[in-house]
């Protein structure tokens, strides 16, 4: 590969997930991020109580992301063949973990409100 432009990268992701699923996931990610920013600005602080629940959900997010990516790429855990594969897989897991943590934190903040005591 000679050049890797942002356009190419977007096209790669569209190819992996299919256009509607990819852009749907982007929309969800943007919505969750905006909601997260909204609650952070609204509350002016991070609640460690909610953050604990968010942390506890991380392993679930990690496993779910790995299972999802393997399924969508016709792959299996036995295909992991070298260090770079492990790194990519850990990256996928990390993204799933962080994504779910942010989601859990945001959902708690939105539905339980900022008044809750820790």
């Amino acid at each position: 590969m000679e050049q890797l432009t942002p356009e190419t990268l977007i096209a790669v992701f569209e190819e992996i997930f299919g256009g509607p699923l990819f852009w749907g996931m982007v929309a969800v990610a943007v919505a969750v991020t905006l909601a997260y920013l909204y609650v952070l600005i609204r509350d002016r602080s991070m609640s460690m109580h909610k953050f604990l629940w968010a942390q506890l959900s991380m392993p679930v997010g990690a496993v779910a992301a790995v299972v999802f990516v393997l399924a969508i790429t016709h792959s299996n855990m036995r295909d992991i063949g070298g260090p770079i594969d492990v790194i990519v897989l850990l990256g996928v897991a990390a993204m799933g973990a962080v994504g779910l943590a942010i989601l859990v934190y945001t959902v708690q903040s939105l539905f339980r409100g900022s008044q809750q005591t820790d």
Partner: protein, 438 residues
């Protein structure tokens, strides 16, 4: 008690971060090059990977040029996808799109084939009798599959009685899977071939062998299939270090190589394939036979006097300089893609590296200077070894490995990431290349 165990955030921090991100994104945009004013008439034969990509790049570089592209096929094929169609991982439609959709509006598409090329008079005659004059000609019609060269074989045999032929196009690739899937379920003897001529993606015959072995073992279990690979010469791949690696993998997977075996005839009724070998003809029984026919330059190229006179005389590839892809006798003609008479590079990945070279020399010629870009034979083959694994093999004219990601993606290691590149990233990069973007 929120203040002790809380992290404080502020609007200013967010705005700062957001501005920083925007600034970074803005700074990586490349500056557009100055367009060259010209009245040059450029004719491109073929709207495949090479022709389409060249057309898109020339439109970006030239202002006022008249660019005409000739292709009788309304359908553009993403040929690297055929390997996946032939093992049931993708539908035939995965490889199909409209030729016209990829072309810029400033380019004139004539849906006809080139019927005659007169390099002295600088004209191209079309199949409907039009004559186009050119100042520069880009020859990229691809190649033809010579199925008739194999006695007893015809394309209507594909898909039934254990015969596959994935090169023949999307429908035939899908039919190949019909025959191959039956073999993977029932077991038996699988025979995989390749032609003696130069060919598109010399890794594809190996990929098909590896994939069918993998799927067969998963479907019916080990020990029910006997796998044979017929190589045309004494190696399994043109690059020696890759050939050795494939030999070892074949050993591990129980695939028997047969060297210097060239498919000559098929008896579909008796299920027997006849091979030409240095010791005379030899027959092999099969339950599944994968046929890849000899490949040659299109007739119009071979009749036009553009081919090499002393090399590949039975195949007719265009006589070009291997570094600049410029015709050795007619400097206003370039050839790239499958039809180019160079020792390596009949793959889409090669086209990606050939296109900027042709663009550079063509634009330089219009400006009256010498181009500087050189093609060194770069060819890439994500050599799939299992569903889920591949080796990202990249090499050049000198049979050197030229990995794109040295130290990260080992070329001779079976990796999941290399599979991801073939299965998901390749088509996206290919499409970007067609649009002249990569």
């Amino acid at each position: 008690m929120t203040s002790d165990n809380s992290i404080h955030t502020s609007r200013r921090t967010f705005l700062g971060l957001a501005l920083g991100g925007l600034a970074t994104a803005a700074s990586v945009r490349p500056a557009p090059a100055q367009r060259v004013q010209t009245k040059a008439r450029i004719v491109i034969i073929g709207a495949g990977a090479a022709g389409t990509s060249v057309a898109n790049r020339l439109v970006e570089r030239l202002d006022g040029a008249s660019i005409t592209i000739l292709d009788p096929s309304a359908e553009h094929l993403y040929q690297p996808g055929l390997s996946l169609v032939a093992v049931g991982l993708r539908p035939a439609s995965y490889t199909q799109s409209n030729t016209a959709d990829w072309l810029p509006k400033d380019v004139t598409l004539i849906p006809e084939a080139a019927a005659a090329i007169d390099a002295e008079a600088k004209t191209v005659g079309t199949s409907d009798g039009q004559t186009l004059s050119y100042d520069f000609l880009v020859v990229a019609p691809g190649l033809v599959l010579d199925h008739d060269a194999i006695e007893g074989f015809s394309l209507d045999m594909v898909g039934s009685n254990g015969i596959g032929a994935l090169y023949a196009g999307p429908q035939y690739a899908a039919k190949t899977w019909e025959a191959a899937s039956k073999f993977t379920e029932d077991g038996g003897v699988g025979v995989f071939t390749r032609p003696v001529t130069e060919m598109k993606c010399a890794g594809a015959p190996l990929k098909h062998t590896f994939l069918i072995e993998d799927i067969a073992t998963r479907t019916a279990g080990a020990g029910k299939h006997e796998m044979h690979y017929a190589a045309h010469d004494g190696a399994l791949f043109g690059v020696p270090i890759v050939s050795e690696k494939v030999r070892m993998l074949f050993g591990d997977r129980g695939i028997t190589p047969h060297y210097r075996h060239v498919l000559k005839a098929v008896d579909g009724g008796r299920k027997i394939a006849t091979f030409e070998t240095p010791d005379g003809d030899t027959e092999m029984e099969y339950d599944y036979l994968h046929v890849i026919p000899p490949q040659r330059a299109p007739e119009v190229i071979r009749q036009s006097g553009l081919s090499w006179a002393d090399k590949w005389t039975d195949q007719g590839w265009v006589e070009v300089d291997m570094k600049t892809l410029r015709h050795l006798r007619y400097p206003d003609i370039f050839a790239l893609g499958d039809v180019a008479g160079v020792p390596k590079g009949k793959t889409a990945a090669s086209v990606k590296w050939q296109v900027p070279v042709v663009e550079d020399h063509l634009v330089a010629a219009i400006e009256g200077r010498e181009g500087r870009a050189a093609y060194d034979g770069y060819t890439s083959c994500p050599l799939i070894t299992r569903v889920g694994r591949a080796m990202l093999v990249e090499f050049d004219y000198h049979n050197n490995l030229v990995p794109s990601f040295p130290g990260m993606i080992a070329p001779l290691e079976e990796l999941w990431i290399s599979w991801l590149m073939k299965e998901v990233a390749l088509k996206a990069t290919y499409n970007a290349m067609l649009r002249g973007k990569a």
